[in-house]
């Protein structure tokens, strides 16, 4: 089938099957490989993207279900060369090592900050309950989200 997907602000027409997962369409048809597949039981969160502003697991959606919605992937978070505060904070706080879980973590964190602009540590951990990291031990990730929260509050124009 032929479907239209709106990704990172532009609309793309792609050829796929009914059973094509959203993550497959993003990675294979659109060549946006920043969204990753880390498991097959919908638990690791590496595939997290935004669907109409909400973090969802793109491995657990059909591409065709996303027709008509506005999708943001990790590639759409920066504005040109200017990184999103969450992206900057993850690096500054060393909240990534191998980087494989990082796009999903960043997408989940950005949504969490939209819902809780000044989150407690517990709210951050709860907000990242759907994301697994094997490298960092999470302490720096929580610090990164807190740092990003401050950055966004201090410069409202950064709120993406």
């Amino acid at each position: 089938m032929n479907i239209e997907l709106n990704i990172n602000g532009s609309t793309h027409s792609i050829e796929c099957e009914d059973r094509t997962l959203l993550v497959e369409a993003i990675r294979d048809q659109l060549g946006l490989t920043g969204t990753h597949v880390g498991c097959d039981t919908s638990q690791c969160g590496c595939c997290t993207v935004h669907l109409d502003g909400q973090a969802v697991k793109s491995c657990s959606m059909l591409a065709v279900q996303a027709q008509g919605a506005s999708i943001t992937t990790i590639e759409g978070m920066a504005s040109g060369d200017t990184l999103h505060p969450v992206q900057m904070a993850f690096s500054a706080c060393h909240g990534l090592q191998c980087g494989f879980c990082t796009p999903g973590m960043i997408m989940a964190s950005a949504d969490l900050l939209r819902r809780h602009p000044d989150p407690t540590d517990d709210q951050i951990r709860e907000g990242l309950a759907g994301n697994i990291c094997r490298c960092t031990g999470y302490v720096n990730i929580v610090a990164a989200v807190k740092t990003a929260a401050k950055m966004i509050q201090q410069a409202p124009a950064n709120r993406a």
């Binding site: 919908s42 279900q65 994301n131």
Partner: protein
């Protein structure tokens, strides 16, 4: 996944017709249970009928002593909805504890209930809050809805439209999650109605059930001690890698006590 045909429904009547015509078709709302199962090739419906965007199936409305929630309403919506939070806060809290944020953005009430998944949270609310399942052809009281492991009273082509929860005097839900999957190893809804207490338990048995001993004890005296004095028969409870039946019985007690403690203000 095996191949199938995807259809996005535009009207409910349309859906019923399609289900009748194709007995191997399945409804797709959030897909949080169905799609992972299909990815493992453990389910192979011929068609998926996407009802996720049918406005007639989503939304919250309160009237009288009832709170009606559309079957395709997402967990995140239920958790955040002002009407739910004021009418039945326990229901919002239960929704807030399902899965993780990404799952809550997609998973729906109807999808969570239609499976009679022994580890899903909502069945405890449906049974505990004396809900009525409103389908495209009838209304089914909660007590008659859950039949057994992955078995409900629904006909194979019957569609849940909404669930009407009865507003309790007060209620609380406490859940103990399986550390890997996040599903309930024991989830207890304690609800107080003018007619008496209801205690519904999910995660511990093959199907959600009412813990009638606890209801009787709490009716006599609504306190944590009433729960602590009870023992729950472990035979008939689930046993798996993560918890044997004895431990599950313990968790049911502890979760029931936690729910009661929250309602009596003695929670720690």
């Amino acid at each position: 996944m095996y191949p199938f045909t995807y259809v996005r429904a535009t009207a409910l009547a349309d859906v019923a017709q399609r289900l009748k015509a194709d007995p191997d078709a399945k409804l797709l709302a959030g897909g949080m249970t169905l799609l992972p199962t299909m990815k493992m090739r453990l389910a192979a419906p011929s068609a998926l009928i996407d009802i996720g965007r049918l406005t007639e199936l989503s939304g919250v409305s309160a009237e009288g002593d009832g709170l009606t929630i559309g079957a395709a309403t997402r967990h995140a919506e239920v958790a955040a909805d002002a009407t739910v939070r004021s009418a039945i806060p326990a229901l919002a809290e239960l929704a807030q504890g399902i899965g993780d944020p990404q799952v809550r953005a997609r998973g729906t009430l109807g999808g969570s209930v239609a499976n009679s998944d022994p580890a899903a949270d909502y069945p405890a609310a449906v049974l505990g809050l004396d809900a009525t399942i409103i389908t495209d052809r009838r209304s089914i009281p909660a007590g008659e809805f859950f039949k057994g492991l992955f078995t409900t009273a629904l006909a194979s082509d019957e569609i849940i439209r909404s669930i009407r929860f009865t507003r309790p005097v007060r209620a609380a839900y406490a859940k103990f999650a399986q550390p890997a999957s996040g599903y309930a190893m024991a989830g207890v809804m304690v609800a107080q109605f003018p007619s008496g207490i209801r205690v519904a338990v999910t995660g511990a048995g093959p199907c959600v059930f009412r813990w009638t001993d606890a209801e009787a004890a709490l009716n006599r005296q609504f306190s944590v001690e009433s729960i602590q004095a009870l023992s729950l028969d472990a035979s008939g409870l689930n046993a798996d890698l993560h918890a044997d039946a004895a431990y599950r019985a313990q968790l049911v007690k502890v979760m029931a006590a936690q729910a009661v403690a929250r309602l009596t203000g003695t929670a720690r």
